[in-house]
Symmetry: C2
């Protein structure tokens, strides 16, 4: 795949050099829009407009949609008004709305001037909905039918209207603008009787979302119900648009990326890694780093206040990284599992007691196993093998007891905090590894020194 | 949503108590299969067969597919042979194959005995493909057309064949079993001339996968190209099946979950969190915990070997957690970003130099900002506010220099290791936070003590 792509790219470059535009066009028209856009993005910027003009109208518009905002802006600047109109006319309304949202004000003005009045009003309607809502990702172009239509009339209507619609396979049955049912093209084609009425065959147990439903919930419904499209209605159950499965996939991918970024202590960004400048990466990464660094003041203070104990038993210091590390890992295991289960809707808030009980039992097993292995390791490796006489059985015991207690607290904290965040209507992913590690660090040190005070002659 | 679900559940429970089966059935048939399955899974086990038998045949089969393996097994055990046959006959081939894969041997035998010969051979074919390959998730039921057919003939064929097919919207044009083109129902319905031949309207620039393509790559192609279905061919380009978009969504979700689990230091599991017993959670979590705990021996050894330095300047100990924590967070930020970019195909191996250069610049900015804030914080908080006289400007300088060096190394290691894993054909997600944190811990301690030896009177 990768190699084939580079071959095409090299061939294309040399044809561009040799001005073999006809051959170039013949190759491009055999390609998929997403691939052409990828090819453009690794081509010299000034050559893109030339290549783009080789594409036939429809393919040009499809490719345009797949391109990155920076390249779209660049292209629009080279377009004449009539060229721009040709592209805008070919766009689906949701793609046009997404474009308008990305472009700077002067470009937006040019785009809206070229759009026909109907599209202009649809774009404006979509842009009025809040970011990340169903309304903001829907398209207003869908096939609508009336309950009284027959199968034959419905198919005729689809044939007449379908060319401009993003999907024709699910048709929406409306009555006075209200959504009353859905009918699929499969139902219509497979109907035994052409005179059958839509009202008698439509599915009336409707699953729909409102314009303000969060896009993440919309996307999850696709993954749960295996839809190809989902109707969007307003507060009065009037049909306003549809979300299609391809947009739902993009949302699912974006939300997973966002969760991972938050788990890694990064502010989510809309830009891909390769397109982000170091300055932008810095801005997304520094807030959590600063916050967590400053919060480490507490671990520092704990150590300082037990300075005498450490001075008396220097060997204790050697196990601090191991304790904190294991605690952090135990906690992040639980938090990652719970965060993902929450975002896949597998966990409800009311499951909290079950989750805590499950984590306690898991933590006891993990803690016991780790403590036993740790005791043996310290005895054999640090004691016998490395011959470190400072590490007495008493110190070994303190380390292993602290380890057990740390794993137990870490797993409970790791599981409870994300659910708490959810209850407070925050994104559970905020309570991920970096945050939990900071808390667990402090807890593990406190536990460690308390056991040391209790069991060692300090 | 949540509350409505619980309302339905309570109503259902009380109707079950009162044996109001007719009402119960009337409610169930208005529900979506995925919702019914969810309802069943929170119902007492012994009541499930009773409820299941209330469902009409088609809805019963659709609900069955959505249920968890344990419940499916339980149900099958209560089925008579003829009941089992009714369900199996209604299943799509890919769902039947998935079922056979999950069930124990004796149940599998019963299922295969009830399947008709054609389905039995399709199931066996699908099960022969390696786990996680396109072959293992495809269905062998699709609509195939011949190049010489007219639009009218094609639509007739869809009407006759379509009822058993998972999707009819993309039709595959074959010639001597080889895939030569695709035609969508939209193309057929919107064709101006009913006598037009399929050969003249089909798309011949085909994107297909082979039976052995990894399911992750298949799913990524859906997200890139916005397909509803993707043809699967064998090594001789003969059409053997299709993967549909709903299965691709499941794969995308599962792969994201798997990446997150690996990032959290957990062995990936197929079971949801809520269905995993503590013993299973333990088995998935303990390997990494043990490995990382034992690898912390190195950090312990580093500290032990600098024991004299620590004894001379006890204040140094207080900053160990902050240094290691910030290093770990910096590294995991880079690794999470790179791992996700790799799994979304946004990064190629050949981008390595670009990635390293980007990370170096980002790390310098992060490191500088952190070092400056850290210097001020130690001076103001630990020095002036807390009046800790042991923390001299020299110690402060050592801490901040070590911090800068740690952030720089952590970010480079965090970005390079996942790409290295990819080059070695390993899953990049293995090189995630826990693993990188362990390496960075050791590095940060070494750097810290080296700066201390250089700059402090030890």
């Amino acid at each position: 795949m990768q190699e084939r792509f580079e071959l095409v790219q090299n061939a294309l470059d040399s044809m561009l050099e040799g001005k073999k535009y006809a051959t170039l066009r013949d190759i491009l028209i055999t390609m998929n829009p997403a691939d052409i856009a990828m090819l453009f993005s690794s081509t010299e910027e000034k050559k893109i407009p030339l290549l783009f003009r080789l594409l036939p109208k429809e393919l040009a518009a499809e490719t345009f949609v797949e391109m990155e905002p920076e390249e779209q802006e660049l292209l629009i600047k080279t377009f004449s008004d009539s060229e721009l109109k040709e592209i805008v006319d070919e766009l689906y309304v949701d793609d046009a709305a997404a474009l308008v949202e990305e472009m700077p004000a002067n470009v937006v003005k040019r785009i809206l001037r070229q759009a026909d009045p109907e599209m202009r009003s649809s774009i404006n309607q979509i842009l009025r909905y809040p970011d990340n809502s169903a309304g903001s990702i829907m398209t207003t172009e869908y096939v609508s039918l009336r309950p009284a239509m027959t199968v034959e009339e419905s198919i005729l209507r689809i044939r007449r209207q379908g060319v401009d619609k993003e999907t024709i396979y699910t048709c929406y049955v409306t009555e006075g603008r209200k959504l009353v049912g859905i009918v699929t093209v499969k139902d219509l084609l497979l109907a035994q009787d052409d005179e059958m009425r839509v009202a008698d065959m439509m599915e009336t147990n409707l699953i729909s979302v409102t314009t303000h439903t969060d896009q993440e919930e919309v996307a999850r419904m696709f993954s749960k119900y295996d839809f190809l499209a989902l109707p969007v209605v307003d507060m009065e159950n009037r049909m306003v648009g549809i979300v299609t499965v391809d947009d739902a996939i993009d949302v699912l991918q974006d939300e997973a990326t966002e969760d991972m970024e938050m788990m890694g202590g990064i502010l989510p960004s809309e830009k891909t890694y390769i397109r982000s400048r170091p300055w932008e990466l810095f801005k997304n990464r520094i807030p959590w780093l600063l916050l967590l660094m400053v919060s480490a003041t507490f671990t520092g203070m704990i150590i300082t206040s037990f300075e005498d104990a450490l001075a008396a038993q220097v060997a204790l210091t050697a196990f601090i990284p191991m304790l904190m590390g294991t605690g952090g890992n135990s906690g992040s295991q639980s938090s990652v599992t719970v965060i993902r289960a929450l975002s896949l809707d597998e966990l409800k808030l009311s499951d909290l007691p079950r989750v805590v009980w499950k984590e306690i039992r898991t933590a006891v097993m993990c803690g016991l196993a780790l403590a036993v292995v740790c005791y043996l390791k310290i005895w054999l490796v640090d004691g016998l093998l490395l011959g470190n006489a400072a590490i007495t059985p008493a110190i070994n015991l303190v380390v292993c007891l602290a380890l057990f207690a740390t794993v137990l607290t870490a797993k409970i904290i790791g599981a409870v905090l994300p659910m708490l965040a959810k209850a407070l209507k925050l994104d559970p992913a905020v309570m991920a590894s970096p945050f939990i590690t900071s808390i667990v660090d402090a807890v593990s040190l406190l536990v460690y020194f308390l056991f040391a005070k209790l069991l060692l002659p300090l």
